[in-house]
Amino acid sequence: MEATRPVSRSTPRPTSRPAYRLTRDRVTALLMLAPSVVAIGVFVYGFIAWTGFVSLTQWSGILANLRFNGLENYVSIFNTGRFQTDIRNTVVFTTLFVVLTLLLGFVLAVLVDQRVRGETIFRSIYLFPMSLSFIVTGVAMAWVFTPGNWQNGDPTGINLLFKQMGLGWFQSGWITDASIWPGGGWFPDWSRTRIGLPLAMLPVVAAATWQMSGFTMAMYLAGLRAIPDEMREAARVDGATEWQVIRYIILPQLTPVTLSAIIVLGHVSLKIFDLIMTMTGGGPGNATDVPGIYMYEITFKANKVAEGAAVAMVMLVLVALVIVPYLISNMRNAQEG
């Protein structure tokens, strides 16, 4: 997408559309683009098409079996309790993670934007977690959130911290807490999973938010700096309180930034694998399991390649649901502008 845009922008647009002429300029441009178009065509779209095809076959075993199987694999995974749980977890994780990261990032950006002394230091501190890989975060946070035998006064990790601070009643099972909020979850007959919020997901959300909120802070900070001071001044002169300035001047101006942040965070969280793999491994039970882990296990451990491909396609659709509307609105803007 990004790669094709410069072409249309660089050509000036007169009111009536001229016949497309193959000037030397355009030939050069096309030749320059060709390698990346071919590479992306093969390695992105080609493989997506191949995965889509495999998901319709009977491939279950070490060697490829490309006999057509219709939508059987999709029916099969959607009837699996574990996959239903994974979808629930993805929805829970994505919602909490995106909302919390946006909120925290925005608050941090507003604070850093107050022209405090040592702003660069604060900015760096908040941005640093992003330079870690999710693997590192996962391993470290797993240590933090392993509760130990806290019911019998032998806590570890964050529970130990709470105990030493005299905040014993804050201790909890964290990543080992298999319960579902509210009240054990809703378990209707048509579902093979309990619908609700798995509490073990909260530490995972905390870890992901800790890592990514610096990133949204940076985005919001750039957005805030782009708002001319005159607008705020004008609002203040008109008697707006600081809260009203934020609510009616700053927030509306930040809508495009928020949208971009949602896109980036949304696709990170819908595809999340490494953080959860190292932090909880999907446990307790399937309380923090996600489609990525399920796909990995049934493809590489159980050899059910076609079903794994079907899971991959479902994940692709989920991400597409987030990204495609954004792309469409982007294209519209580009055409209007």
């Binding site: 030397r24 050069t28 060709a34 992306i40 390695f43 070490i62 035998n149 491994g281 039970g285 991400v319």
Partner: protein
């Protein structure tokens, strides 16, 4: 201006040419280019980037004799044992270069992924590590392995390995791999000092187990340490419970194709498991099996049921066998040896079939097994081992293996094929967290359909 444009044109043409050449040049370009542009959906068939280079490097050069052995024994005692077997092989087959293709990590999962990609690409290693028993059925069904029944007769293995073991590794009336070692799954490890201080004996039956557990609980010691982080511990515990509930004969019948997996005994086993987990540590999903073993060593927990690699773990922590920790058959399974085994098979279309057979002879020989197993901390699959080479636990294990009935392990690939193992393992991990007997029974019934 003109000049710049011409230069640009020339550069872009060169890029295209280079790209086309790279594509035509071989598969190496594809995985190397892919990770940078990975689409939203991860391609399931993608090989790890290391694979093609490895394969290319290991193509036999004309004239030189080579043997490629594929395993996931990369460190510790198992790597030492493997090196010892290579030493014996080199003595007997001078001039053959051994290519030691190991892939570390994931308890073999990473290695299996690389192996499968190589098999799909038609580039098998000569021989690869595989759990003996039903785990290898997926390779057999894909036509990747050669039957070894005749080889077993020729080498006389059928006389020195227990008949029950050979029966249990037979698939489609053939034996497909040479077992190098035997591990035992149904072992109860207990803290001897804690047991002595409370005048307790290791429980023989399930009823005894719950009595001992109550006594420990009353003293404020967690009776049973269970893990879960490595995603096999609960399945591991349950296979001992299944064995105790069904008995060895009915247990073996569970893995016959068409078994329903929904009878009353299954319900009984699930209820027993639930009761047992009531005596276990509540943070089990965050602990690995080794963490659980450590709880026993520290005296924070009284018992754990784990395979005999726990013995290796205890030794690595400088604990004294029979002083700091003791062992017994898991409750209710006395007299039965729940086994699992690492083995090597012969690839169909192996590049060096003669060298590979010579390798399998080392794997199956008394000399090879007695070199490998003391280092690995397991016992030989042969019953004529030199017992003096083994430590106190392994001697006990060798005696049990010779005298006991044998039953194949589920979670370690001996009893059932891989799709079943994944579904079974997940069902038990879920059960360990929510203790919902109805859901786990349904999940096990569903899993049972994977045994074909």
């Amino acid at each position: 201006m003109r000049y710049t444009k011409m230069l640009l044109t020339a550069v872009s043409l060169l890029m295209i040419l280079a790209f086309v050449a790279a594509c035509g040049g071989g598969q190496t370009a594809a995985p190397a280019a892919q990770p940078a542009q990975k689409p939203a959906a991860v391609q399931p068939t993608t090989a790890p980037a290391v694979q093609p280079t490895q394969a290319a490097a290991q193509k036999p050069a004309a004239g030189a004799k080579k043997l490629e052995i594929f395993s996931w024994w990369t460190n510790g005692g198992e790597a030492t044992g493997l090196e010892k077997m290579y030493g014996i092989y080199k003595q007997k087959n001078a001039g053959v270069e051994i290519v030691n293709a190991t892939v570390a990590g994931g308890a073999g999962t990473n290695a299996k992924t690389v192996l499968k990609t190589r098999l799909q690409g038609g580039q098998p290693p000569d021989s690869w590590q595989v759990h003996a028993g039903k785990e290898l059925t997926s390779y057999v069904d894909a036509g990747q392995m050669q039957p070894l029944t005749a080889f077993f007769k020729e080498q006389g293995y059928d006389k020195v390995m227990p008949k029950l073991l050979l029966d249990q590794i037979t698939y489609k009336n053939e034996i497909w791999s040479v077992p190098v070692n035997i591990h035992r799954s149904n072992v109860l490890w207990y803290n001897k000092k804690v047991f002595a201080a409370n005048n307790l004996q290791p429980p023989k039956t399930l009823d005894d187990f719950f009595k001992v557990a109550d006594a420990l609980k009353a003293k404020g010691v967690t009776p049973l340490a269970v893990g879960g982080k490595d995603k096999f511990e609960n399945g591991h515990l349950f296979e001992s419970v299944l064995l105790a509930t069904y008995g060895p004969d009915d247990y073996a019948k569970l893995f016959a194709p068409g078994t329903k997996w929904d009878d009353a005994k299954l319900t009984q086993a699930i209820d027993t498991m639930k009761k047992m987990l009531g005596y276990a540590n509540s943070d089990r999903s965050a602990l690995g099996w080794a963490d659980a073993a450590q709880l026993v060593l520290d005296g924070k927990a009284g018992m754990t049921i784990m395979g005999d690699w726990a013995h290796g773990y205890f030794l690595s922590k400088n604990a004294k066998p029979d002083v700091d920790y003791g062992w017994a058959a898991a409750p209710g399974t006395d007299g039965v040896f729940l086994w699992l085994s690492d083995s090597f098979g012969l690839a169909k279309g192996a590049p060096n079939p003669d060298q590979a057979k010579a390798w399998l002879m080392v794997c199956g020989s008394k000399e090879g097994q007695d070199a490998f197993n003391p280092a690995k901390g397991s016992i030989p699959a042969r019953t004529d081992a030199d017992k003096s080479l083994y430590d106190v636990y392994l001697k006990y294990s060798i005696d049990s293996f010779g005298a006991n009935k044998l039953a194949p392990s589920i979670v370690h690939g001996a009893a059932a094929p891989e799709p079943y193992m994944v579904a079974y393992g997940n069902a038990l991990e879920v059960f360990s967290s929510d203790l919902d007997t109805k859901t786990v029974k349904q999940a096990l019934t569903d899993a049972g359909k994977e045994i074909k």
